[in-house]
């Protein structure tokens, strides 16, 4: 593939290296001139990333300095290589991206849907590829990984689908939010048929996603030990709110889960499944979607959260457009600035301050090509 498909981040770091290389050869006057030019270019492009090399960010970084960052790769939907190598090229590109981050993220979240049809060959291939991620990987499960063998192999490879951990003063909860009520026994479906139905986003035979009573009870116990002032970040594959039911952009017991998170001051939910730039806030909870490496989903015909700034319509002629990976900068406050690293486009950051202010501050660049 060579340099043809360099990601925005790769280009960004190359430019940064060239910039600092150039700085060494400048006197003070020329330095100011370059700094001014750089600031102008950055302002013109609408690029504002907290760890960016551009000098314009120095003043802005005050007070919103991240306490740490983590990256993500999500929704890779792998087939076995002999059947389809395109999605494999995409995940490799994302692995290159996160391995190229400097400084390295504290960890990398895998957002679910590693496999397309839950096959052993797909999951094992994914596990093998993710081994080459330099930072530690936190795994989350998606419905495409689950419904062939109800998560048996996934658990063998990656452990329990729901767990929690603490990192630098933030409490993290990882959920399995893609459980579905039994629609297969009565219909006498084979595991393969069941998987195929769940894999169809618009297949209405399947049930709606849910976290389920048992897991909510576990979550309640887990959160009981956490101080209410501690920032909480939840990872779930499906959005933990109700966006569009027919496509399972939806969690049926979202209200109950949100109620468990209500006592906490600062909560962020990071979710996969929707393959698009997606932002929401419900009371104390901020929500960020993740990009897929495999393909972008269109925005649903109704129910889009008001705070979402749509990403431009993807170019159907470009294999990687609308896809990507990204990074979460966890701020001192415990909230999250979410960087969408859209391949072949300028990256977009959706800031905590944008969601906290109800869209009044720090709005991300607006859409030029909205969905049809």
């Amino acid at each position: 593939m060579g340099n043809k498909f360099r990601s925005i981040e790769t280009k960004h770091y190359e430019e940064r290296d060239a910039f600092f290389e150039g700085l060494k050869r400048l006197d003070r006057r020329a330095f100011l001139r370059v700094a001014g030019m750089s600031a102008g270019i950055v302002a013109g492009m609408g690029l504002r990333s907290p760890q960016s090399f551009q000098l314009v960010n120095v003043a802005e970084a005050q007070g919103t300095k991240p306490r740490f960052s983590f990256a993500y790769i999500s929704d890779t939907h792998l087939y076995e290589q002999k059947l389809n190598d395109r999605f494999i090229r995409s995940i490799l590109k994302a692995v290159d991206d996160v391995n190229g981050l400097d400084p390295q993220p504290d960890f990398v979240l895998f957002g679910g849907d590693l496999a397309q049809l839950g096959q052993a060959g797909e999951l094992k291939l994914g596990a093998q590829i993710l081994k080459s991620v330099k930072a530690p990987v936190k795994m989350m499960v998606g419905e495409h990984d689950w419904f062939l063998d109800m998560g048996e192999l996934w658990r063998d490879l990656f452990g329990a689908p729901n767990y929690s951990f603490d990192h630098k003063g933030v409490h993290f909860v990882v959920l399995n939010s893609i459980l579905e009520k039994d629609f297969w026994t009565e219909r006498k479906l084979t595991p393969k048929e069941r998987m195929q139905i769940v894999a169809g986003l618009d297949n209405g035979i399947q049930s709606r996603f849910e976290v389920g009573g048992e897991q909510r009870e576990w979550m309640k116990q887990d959160l009981a030990k956490v101080d209410k002032k501690t920032p909480v970040i939840v990872f779930s594959h499906s959005p933990l709110y109700k966006y569009y039911r027919p496509w399972n952009f939806w969690t049926d017991d979202a209200d109950e889960v949100q109620a468990l998170l209500k006592p906490f001051e600062r909560v962020t939910v990071i979710h996969g499944h929707t393959h698009q730039l997606l932002s929401n806030r419900i009371n104390n909870i901020q929500f960020h979607g993740m990009l897929s490496t495999a393909w972008p989903w269109p925005y649903a015909p109704e129910g889009l959260p008001q705070l979402t700034v749509q990403m431009n319509r993807p170019d159907p002629f470009s294999q990687f457009d609308g896809c990507g990976d990204g990074r979460m900068d966890v701020l001192e406050s415990g909230l999250v600035d979410k960087l969408y690293n859209l391949w072949e486009r300028n990256p977009i950051t959706v800031r905590a301050s944008y969601l906290a202010s109800g869209g009044k501050q720090d709005a991300p660049p607006r859409t030029k090509l909205p969905s049809y």
Binding site: R86, W295, P301
Partner: protein, 274 residues
């Protein structure tokens, strides 16, 4: 009608009957599905006296013709009597059926129409039926009462164009839906569309969303020319799906077009939209 005209009509009827017989008896190959499955047959009861028993087209009603043995043929008068009697029995069984003994009275003007939704949610579209369809499919009674109510209405009539019943429309709507459903199948099946890498259309376009058929024809910058919906379908088949483009008349392409348009029912046409 003059005697000569009657002769011509009679001759025409005979010819078309002969043609029908020829068609029915010619050994044309039948589709495979028909060869293997047994079609339902109307088994008429056997007469004790060996009389001829005539079955009706509803598959249930039959009549024993006294004085005519099995194997003998009926005279024209006898046949007319038998058919009239059978029809009478059927009408008794189906008092509300739409049976048109005379030219149909047509449809009244100013008929009430169901209010049209502006942009109904996708995935629930149904083809136009011209009226309300009852649950449970089309029966012999469908529309019968309506027709009777409209008998004698002062309305332009007397030609066959537009002279169809609600039942006709229901049948056409069902055929259209079948076509759309076939498109749904192809759209959701990578192998059916000829894909080689297990990627199907719905993987990027659930419920055919973001296919925006209402924007074609339009100049497709990436193709460097004006494109129709089918050009884009074929582009997708060739590239992301890695299959072979379908010929214009390919039933799969036609069915997919039907499905995609059906999903956008109610959307304003805006050809050329960027």
């Amino acid at each position: 009608m003059t005697y000569r005209m009657k002769l011509w009509v009679g001759a025409g009827a005979l010819l078309s009957f002969a043609g029908g017989v020829a068609l029915a008896t010619s050994p044309a190959p039948r589709p495979e599905s028909l060869q293997t499955t047994e079609l339902p047959r109307h088994k008429v009861p056997v007469s004790k006296d060996g009389n001829l028993v005539v079955g009706m087209c509803d598959g249930e009603t039959s009549l024993e013709v006294k004085g005519v043995k099995e194997g003998q043929s009926l005279t024209r008068e006898q046949a007319a009597r038998v058919s009239a009697e059978l029809m009478e029995t059927w009408l008794k069984k189906n008092p509300d059926a739409n049976w048109d003994p005379a030219p149909p009275p047509g449809v009244a003007q100013g008929q009430k129409q169901a209010p049209q939704q502006k942009n109904p949610p996708m995935g629930t579209q149904k083809p136009a039926t011209g009226g309300e369809m009852r649950e449970g499919g089309v029966t012999a009674e469908s529309g019968g009462k309506e027709v009777r109510k409209q008998a004698g209405t002062n309305i332009q009539d007397g030609h066959s164009y537009g002279a169809f019943t609600q039942r006709d429309e229901a049948v056409w709507a069902a055929s259209t839906q079948q076509f759309v459903d076939e498109g749904h199948r192809v759209f959701h099946d990578a192998a059916a569309v000829g894909g080689t890498i297990a990627v199907s259309c719905d993987m990027c376009h659930p419920d055919a969303s973001n296919t925006h058929p209402e924007t074609y024809p339009k100049y497709q910058v990436q193709l460097g020319r004006v494109a129709l919906l089918r050009d884009m379908i074929n582009w997708c088949i060739e590239n992301p799906v890695r299959g072979k483009p379908l010929a214009d008349g390919d039933p799969r392409l036609r069915a997919m077009e039907a499905y995609i348009y059906a999903q956008r029912k109610g959307t304003k046409l805006e050809y050329g939209k960027k």
